[in-house]
């Protein structure tokens, strides 16, 4: 289980962790600006799981990148935990990601020269603090995802599902406010995908964070509280 000595993520003074208002994103091209997101509005409460669907090129990754303080919108407001991401400079964005956000990707993005526990420790390294405490958090996080016996293994020694669970542990260890997952089950078989999603939900329950999953995988539907579709740059909630 997650180290309970650290306080759980508490609800911010505002009701929602994530607030997007009239967010647009355009890319410059020789033929003129190409709109990718048009007037996106979105609010996500703590503990909520949002599924983002959409065809390739619909803007799912762009929206995730804006939410992840990796990219900035052309216009509109992006607030996470009351922090306006559009005014953050590069250094501030990096710090914000370190403190508030967790990421899970389709192809895991683990550092191959670090063991499972070292990969998880890498996520809390930027936050500082005693090394022993960080290592202990990592071990606990791995235990929480059922990989307590694999802490000293390298990614190449783990299966796809195990690697994704290491990635989940890495995302969760710092008790983030928001987890962004881009096709987290894309490289997994169906059974493993369910395992991973269940793991994500368990961790979410423990930490109280919001979870936004961009995916084509229909099995995610069962785990989502709300489902949105991105179509021609516009976001619509599905029933």
């Amino acid at each position: 289980m997650i180290d309970t000595s650290k306080p759980q993520a508490q609800a911010e003074p505002t009701e929602f962790i994530v607030q997007l208002h009239a967010v647009t994103k355009q890319y410059a091209s020789e033929a003129g600006p190409v709109p990718v997101l048009r007037g996106i509005d979105l609010c996500v409460a703590p503990g909520e799981t949002i599924m983002l669907k959409g065809v390739s090129g619909s803007g799912k990754s762009t929206l995730l990148h804006i939410l992840g303080a990796i990219d900035k919108p052309t216009s509109g407001a992006v607030q996470i935990c009351g922090e306006d991401l559009s005014v953050l400079n590069n250094q501030a964005q990096t710090t914000f990601r370190a403190q508030r956000l967790g990421f899970v990707f389709q192809f895991f993005n683990l550092i191959p020269t670090l063991t499972a526990s070292e990969n998880v420790v890498a996520a809390v390294d930027p936050l500082g603090g005693p090394r022993k405490a960080r290592e202990q958090s990592a071990v606990l996080a791995l235990q929480a995802v059922g990989l307590g016996e694999h802490v000293t293994k390298y990614p190449s020694q783990l299966s796809g599902g195990q690697q994704q669970r290491v990635a989940i542990a890495r995302a969760m260890v710092k008790r983030p406010t928001l987890i962004l997952a881009d096709e987290p089950t894309g490289a997994l078989d169906s059974a493993t995908a369910h395992q991973v999603l269940q793991c994500l939900k368990n961790m979410q329950r423990d930490t109280g964070c919001a979870l936004i999953i961009a995916t084509h995988d229909p099995i995610v539907t069962d785990y989502a509280d709300r489902i949105y579709r991105l179509d021609s740059g516009q976001l619509e909630e599905e029933a």
Partner: protein, 796 residues
């Protein structure tokens, strides 16, 4: 770096366009690679062309000044007594002259410059040894107070037009005014006084005067030298024999020397011959390293493009077509390197030529790049790139589309136990990443380390060779058991010798003699610088390479410098005919030694005195000192018969100054190889680190700041560089030993002396260089926006 907008309009087939785009994106590294090849080309073509240009310049000045084909030296006589040589077969013309020794009188004896005063004694229809006026005017007929000075006298002793000089001729001193400065083909190299212990460049001056200056002295027009011009295609040896026979009927013949037997001619041949050996060695070492690095980078490039190759293959493009696209890029790179090298070779050639010419007092000739070297250099560069390209392109043929398309660049195996353990010893994650990155792709890291080590090793090798050259010269002087040398203004008799050398502080002294002589063996002739030493007092130690030292039991024994022996075709036990002052004596070669000057030889002092007609006189002395050497030197130089007093340190400096051009080329080699090492580092490390771009982007995603990412890359680069420096130690030592071996063949025996400081000279700049190289690599990683990276899915 992104592709420029015009790029997509290029009408190229798609594989070629993609490869060209890929080349554009890694332009920095390819430029570094091309520069390495261009450097090698520039040194090869530039230095060797400079050598050819110097020889051609020499031949041009010889032709312009109508240098005599043969000179005959006789005892001074009335020119009217000279036989006519006009009817000799093969002879175009001749003229007589007087070459008289003198001294430029100065305030102190030590500043006095030995001179040769040359006056014409007879006319010739054709110009022979005609000096070229450089400044001022030629002497008008009957001008008894005017002289012309040879240009080296002007430059080495700061004498100029209009200066009034006091010239001592025997017991007489005459005042003369400098009317002009000339260049004489006979003295293209700065003349040296052979009677000095170290005949340094510029220690002999040459002046020209009208015959009236010496007429009063002799009472007639005197001559002791005849210069001959042969007809085109004439047999010089046959002509020489005929001249000697004719001369012997009326004159006392001293010696004869053809153009190629002149000391300056031989010195130039030997000196430039050294470079003809050393320069290709330098280029070969650079070329081998360049092949290695080029293969490495080309293979890396193709592996980086693996996925795209797979895409093209699945679209139906053949491997041959894809290989040709890369091959064409390799060709363009090679051509670019050749063009860059061409520009560089002008720079290198000019620099080498200027440096060499100035160091030996030669006029600076015009540089002409030799077509043969241009062709060979270009072929060499093309060959290097062809070999490397073929090796790399082979990879294309080994790929299947399926293997090429594999998306994830998976680690084949987990880090090993050592990497695991070493990483755990480090306190921070980022240090672990840096260290384990180094160890994870063992082959790539090893190849990178070796490539960079070759660059650093070469640089160290030049410094070691440079130090070895100096160290050997100093050791050769240090091992002598005398403390100082004393050169006299003129040869002194024994009773005067005792008066001169017995000053306070001198505890022992032994005389020596120095002169020139001609050696001949089986039709080969060479001029020798001979030193006569007392075998019973072997204070002056020779670096023997064969045979044994001079001994009292072998009165006509001889030690000969090894390359001179080779030129004469003699060895230990052979006999040589020595000629000087009209005397001929046979000497037996007791031993061969390694010497700094061509034509060095040693004889027992009594034998040498007899040969050189010195009777019981000496030209100098070795002394042993007890006390302050500077004080003893002062006491000795207070004597007006003493020309100069040199300590071992001063002699070593003189010898090094005489070999200044060799040390200059080694220094140049060291500087160039530092540049090449920097390019190696940039080209190899760039690729190795950027292969792991995905890892660094993942860390940025986790919240690692730019500073920390930079730190990881810098540490990784420094670790690779440090490993390369360790490997550079034996590479440097072995390469230096090889270089010294080649120098020993061409110059004198050079011991390989390895000092820590030679490595420090390489290592310290390298430790500064490595983080500097890491900076642009880190910038490449950090400049890529995270979202772009995530979209490319280039993950770890």
């Amino acid at each position: 770096m992104s592709l420029p907008a015009w790029f997509r309009h290029l009408p190229l087939p798609s594989p070629l366009k993609h490869v060209a785009g890929s080349a554009w994106m890694m332009a920095g590294r390819l430029f570094a690679l091309g520069s390495i090849a261009a450097f090698g080309f520039a040194i090869f073509v530039g230095a060797l062309s400079a050598i050819d240009s110097i020889f051609e310049g020499r031949d041009h000045w010889y032709a312009e000044g109508h240098l005599a084909d043969l000179e005959l030296r006789v005892a001074a006589d009335d020119v009217a007594n000279f036989p006519s040589f006009r009817d000799l077969a093969g002879l175009a013309d001749y003229r007589t002259r007087m070459v008289f020794p003198g001294t430029l009188d100065t305030a102190t004896a030590q500043d006095a410059v030995h001179l040769l005063l040359i006056t014409p004694a007879g006319d010739s229809k054709l110009p022979i040894n005609a000096p070229t006026l450089m400044e001022g005017q030629l002497l008008s007929a009957g001008d008894r107070a005017g002289i012309l000075i040879e240009r080296n006298l002007a430059s080495y002793h700061h004498i100029k037009l209009g200066d009034a000089l006091k010239i001592k001729l025997g017991k007489e001193t005459v005042s003369m005014m400098v009317r002009g400065v000339v260049q004489d083909p006979e003295f293209l190299l700065a003349p040296a006084n052979p009677s000095l212990f170290v005949p340094s460049k510029g220690s002999l001056g040459v002046v020209y005067a009208n015959p009236e200056v010496l007429r009063e002295r002799f009472g007639f027009v005197a001559a002791n030298s005849v210069l001959f011009r042969a007809k085109e295609g004439a047999d010089i040896e046959a002509l020489r024999q005929a001249i000697l026979e004719r001369a012997a009927t009326r004159l006392n013949v001293d010696s004869s020397a053809t153009r190629t037997e002149q000391f300056s001619y031989q010195f130039l041949e030997k000196d430039l011959g050294t470079f003809r050996i050393v320069v290709p060695v330098i280029v070969l070492v650079s070329a081998l390293s360049a092949v290695f690095v080029t293969i490495f980078l080309f293979v890396q490039w193709i592996m980086h493009e693996r996925q795209m190759l797979g895409v093209f293959m699945t679209l139906g493009h053949t491997r041959t077509r894809l290989s040709c696209s890369f091959g064409l890029m390799f060709l363009y790179l090679a051509l670019g390197a050749v063009l860059g090298g061409l520009a560089g070779s002008v720079f290198v050639g000019q620099g080498f030529m200027q440096n060499f010419a100035e160091s030996i007092g030669l006029p600076v000739p015009k540089l002409v790049l030799t077509p043969t070297y241009l062709m060979l250099g270009a072929l060499g560069v093309l060959l290097v790139f062809a070999l490397a390209g073929a090796f790399a392109i082979r990879r294309v043929f080994l790929l299947s589309p399926r293997d090429a398309m594999r998306h994830a660049i998976a680690l084949e195996h987990a880090p090993g136990a050592i990497s695991n353990w070493l990483g755990r010893c480090l306190p921070t994650t980022w240090l672990r990443i840096a260290l384990r990155n180094l160890l994870r792709s063992g082959k790539v890291s090893l190849v990178t380390i070796v490539a960079v080590a070759l660059g650093f090793g070469m640089t160290s090798a030049f410094f070691i060779s440079f130090s070895s050259f100096i160290g050997t010269s100093v050791n050769n002087v240090d091992k002598n058991t005398w403390d100082m040398t004393v050169d006299f203004v003129a040869p002194v008799w024994q009773e005067n010798f005792d008066d001169i050398v017995r000053v306070e502080g001198v505890i022992d002294a032994t005389p020596y003699t120095k002169s020139v002589a001609q050696a001949s063996h089986n039709g080969k002739r060479l001029n020798l610088y001979i030193g006569g030493f007392d075998p019973a007092k072997p204070w002056h130690v020779a670096t023997l390479v064969a045979g044994k030292n001079l001994s009292s039991s072998e009165p006509n024994g001889m030690l000969l410098e090894q390359s001179t022996a080779l030129a004469l075709g003699v060895g230990v036990g052979d006999t040589l005919m020595l000629e000087a002052q009209g005397r001929k004596r046979e000497a037996r070669i007791a031993g061969l030694f390694s010497g700094a000057m061509p034509g060095e030889a040693r004889l027992p002092i009594d034998f040498h005195r007899e040969l050189a007609d010195l009777d019981a006189r000496s030209t100098g002395s070795f002394i042993r000192v007890n006390g302050d050497m500077a004080e003893v030197a002062k006491r000795l130089t207070a004597n007006p018969d003493v020309q100069q007093v040199l300590s071992k340190k001063q002699i070593a400096s003189e010898i090094l100054a005489a070999s200044g051009q060799v040390t200059a080329i080694l220094h140049l080699g060291a500087m160039v190889s530092i540049g090449i090492a920097a390019l190696f580092v940039f080209a190899c490390l760039g690729y190795t680190v950027l292969q792991r771009k995905g890892d660094y982007q993942s860390l940025r995603l986790l919240g690692y700041g730019d500073g920390l990412i930079r730190a990881i890359i810098v540490v990784e680069v420094c670790l690779l560089g440090a490993a390369a420096l360790v490997l550079a130690v034996p590479i440097g030592a072995l390469t230096a030993a090889y270089l010294n071996d080649k120098l020993s063949e061409a110059w004198f025996h050079v011991d390989t002396i390895i000092n820590l400081s030679d490595y420090v000279k390489t290592f310290i700049p390298s430790f500064v260089l490595l983080p500097v190289v890491a900076w642009p690599i880190a910038r490449t990683v950090l400049r890529e926006p995270l979202d772009v990276h995530l979209r490319s899915r280039e993950i770890s």
